[in-house]
Symmetry: C2
Subunit: 438 residues, 2 copies
């Protein structure tokens, strides 16, 4: 493609609109947009984009058709709708770039459907290129993008992807981008709910939540998700920057893919249960940071925000401190990091690239960056093979004990601790001090 390709962009939601506008303003691309919401489409036009009335019209303008609609069902409708599906409008040899997060199988199913005699569009090129980073990085063109497909097809859209990405990874054959995203979302899923678990603990015992936030960010309890989501809690601001619905869908993709592989993912599974409880509590459309309310007394849903000023005087019987919150998060992050890399291996994704991706993307954590690179040569991924496991286990066990003393629900921490105990059972983790000796 010698001249600048014209882009069709479907799905102008929180992230999609930022990406599309960035392609216009920073990339200088001609971008047509489509969204079922007229308001979203108007906002895009006001920012310099062009409007398309239907997916079919959108595709008719496009050299590159980018989809950021929410899920597989919306993509199927977007592309194959009887009356106005995009595939009908797309010119010969043009490229679909699937940026939505879907199950990895969906990518191969989509390729097969394009190739099937009933559709007969094997001329259409397909690249899977799921993204990570959130709305802010979408708008700044600094996303992480995991692209995969035939070499020529990826090369053909590289300039477009480069414009949206700070970190562009070329993962391999079609579907490998989505597989990488699935591994990544295991960590996104566990780290979002863990941030809620940690801050809920701090608020419950009357710690200064602002001070805890700052302390954790400088500690080995830090993670991208903690740094990103906790400010929403501190402000008590629940309008969705990333809705529970999205991480719930992604978590289902993780646990679904794991089930197909017979791969245990206990922390992702525990996270999914908490997300389901969030749905039951009516939070589906709210920011996922609001999950912290699952950890707060029912009448004190704004407790994290109210506790930003000063430590409340508490009965001194408990011993939960800032350090407890750090210990709890660091332990979960280590167990989740190992779980994610075992899942990565089961999915057949390159572990070294995945390690680099996670370190720089929204699934990253301080612990991941410090521990996982040193384990990359391992044949199998287990806490039993992690030299630092005993230290994190003891700190986590101590944190879980303190939660237990005040009857604080810590499903993620408790599940993570069980993974360390399983590693102990395998007999490889050196016994350390018991609580009474600490």
């Amino acid at each position: 493609m010698l001249s600048k390709p014209t882009i069709g962009f479907a799905g102008l939601g929180a992230m999609g609109s930022g990406m599309a506008i960035h392609l216009v303003k920073a990339g200088g691309f001609t971008v047509y947009g489509y969204d079922v919401s007229a308001a979203q489409l108007k906002a895009f036009v006001d920012s310099g984009g062009h409007a398309a009335e239907t997916p079919c019209e959108l595709a008719s303008h496009a050299d590159v058709l980018i989809s950021m609609v929410a899920d597989a069902a919306q993509n199927t409708s977007l592309l194959f709708d009887d009356d106005n599906g995009a595939v009908k409008g797309l010119g010969s040899g043009k490229t679909i770039v699937l940026c939505s997060t879907t199950a990895p199988e969906f990518v191969s199913e989509l390729r097969a459907r394009l190739d099937a005699p009933s559709v007969g569009r094997s001329d259409i090129r397909l690249v899977d290129a799921p993204v990570s980073g959130g709305a802010l990085r979408a708008a700044e063109g600094t996303l992480s993008i995991f692209a995969a497909g035939a070499d020529d097809d990826v090369k053909g859209v590289r300039a477009v992807l480069d414009c949206m990405a700070e970190c562009l990874y070329c993962m391999g054959a079609l579907g490998d981008g989505m597989r990488a995203k699935t591994v990544h979302q295991l960590l996104a899923a566990t780290n979002i709910i863990s941030a809620a678990e940690g801050m809920g603990l701090a608020a419950n015992v009357g710690l200064n939540t602002q001070a805890v936030y700052e302390h954790v960010c400088e500690s080995d309890g830090a993670s991208f998700m903690f740094e990103n989501r906790v400010p929403h809690m501190l402000q008590g601001e629940w309008q969705a920057r990333s809705a529970l619905a999205i991480i719930l869908k992604d978590t289902g993709i993780v646990t679904g893919a794991a089930r197909l592989l017979h791969q245990p993912t206990p922390l992702a599974s525990a996270a999914e249960q908490s997300y389901l409880r969030g749905v039951r509590a009516g939070l589906l459309r709210d920011d996922d940071a609001r999950l912290v309310q699952l950890y707060l007394p029912p009448t004190q849903g704004d407790l994290v925000a109210r506790m930003t000023q000063a430590d409340r005087m508490m009965a001194s019987s408990h011993q939960v401190s800032k350090a407890t919150v750090v210990d709890l998060l660091a332990g979960i992050h280590l167990a989740a990091a190992v779980e994610a890399m075992a899942f990565c291996q089961a999915l057949g994704v390159d572990r070294a690239i995945m390690c680099e991706i996670i370190t720089k993307a929204a699934g990253g954590s301080r612990v991941f960056g410090e521990v996982i690179p040193g384990m990359l040569k391992a044949d199998q991924w287990s806490l039993a093979d992690c030299p630092q496991a005993a230290e994190y286990r003891d700190r986590l066990a101590d944190a879980v004990d303190r939660c237990r003393d005040i009857r604080y629900p810590c499903h993620m921490a408790a599940t993570a601790l069980q993974q360390f105990h399983l590693a102990d059972l395998a007999g490889k983790v050196v016994a350390n001090t018991s609580r009474s000796e600490r």
Copy 2:
């Protein structure tokens, strides 16, 4: 049906062969059998049955076609296979009785497929009648059967079902039998792995496992699954009476149905994770009691059997006793019982009938029978609404503490304890003693 119907029986596995032979010997029915295994078919013929070579031939003999094949995929193949599918052979107005456990949706999909113009067999009657009780009760004709379908259709096969059942429940419209079985399997799934968790604990600390077994059976830690599966552990006998593959499939049906309803099922989900670990450990085709090995040191897979003679001298630092095992099981059983009834409500299954079913079937436990009948008038199902919760919580917390002291992995108990803490957070459970005061 005035004369005795002729039965076609597909799926002569561990349970199916017992059911089919019982229909011949105790029921006096003429029964044709079909199985992909020639050995199973021969054993059936040796016991007085007739052999059919194909599903189509089987159906051609049958007034009532009973399917006990393993899952939805096998049923689809059995019924609709191009060359020799059973539907082709089945006479006009005959009845299919689906005794396999499948997802509830499969029943309505099957009805729709029979009715579809391409198949055109709306004359065929369909009853879903999943069963519970295991191979022994199958052979004795004392199963629990959950039948559903049009009144006349159920009535038409009632004599056949009665022959196989000690407890025959008529659940309602087509699919309601499978929904009831799904609720029931939530408890089967949690109770099987909990029995392993309890006995693994006993063996790890050197208790006499035979004595623990007998003690638990007389305590409120007792359950059908504990009484049924632990003898396999005590004998170290792992030939599948009920294979891990079966409960793994059923657990997936539970968590899949729960996900569709956005209904949290944390204990079923934790159980599923342990079953996946069992698959990873190579146990898919073994008896599900072998899951106890997940709780034992890697080189001591026969520890439960070896510990049946006498207490081994152990370091006295831990305080795990028979009572600890009981407390652990009773707490899990209560949390699982409440989880199952909330799931029952979400699925729209009659709670009073379900309560009666579970009490008498393989999902039953002492705690279920003692607590749930008193909660049947509740609007919603939560541990917060359970008057006995505080007592069970404190006993469970104590057991989890003791496991923690010896770093024993107790994923089910830890997950259950979190459910009590969540109920505490709702502020309704009266605070009781903390450990230091006990």
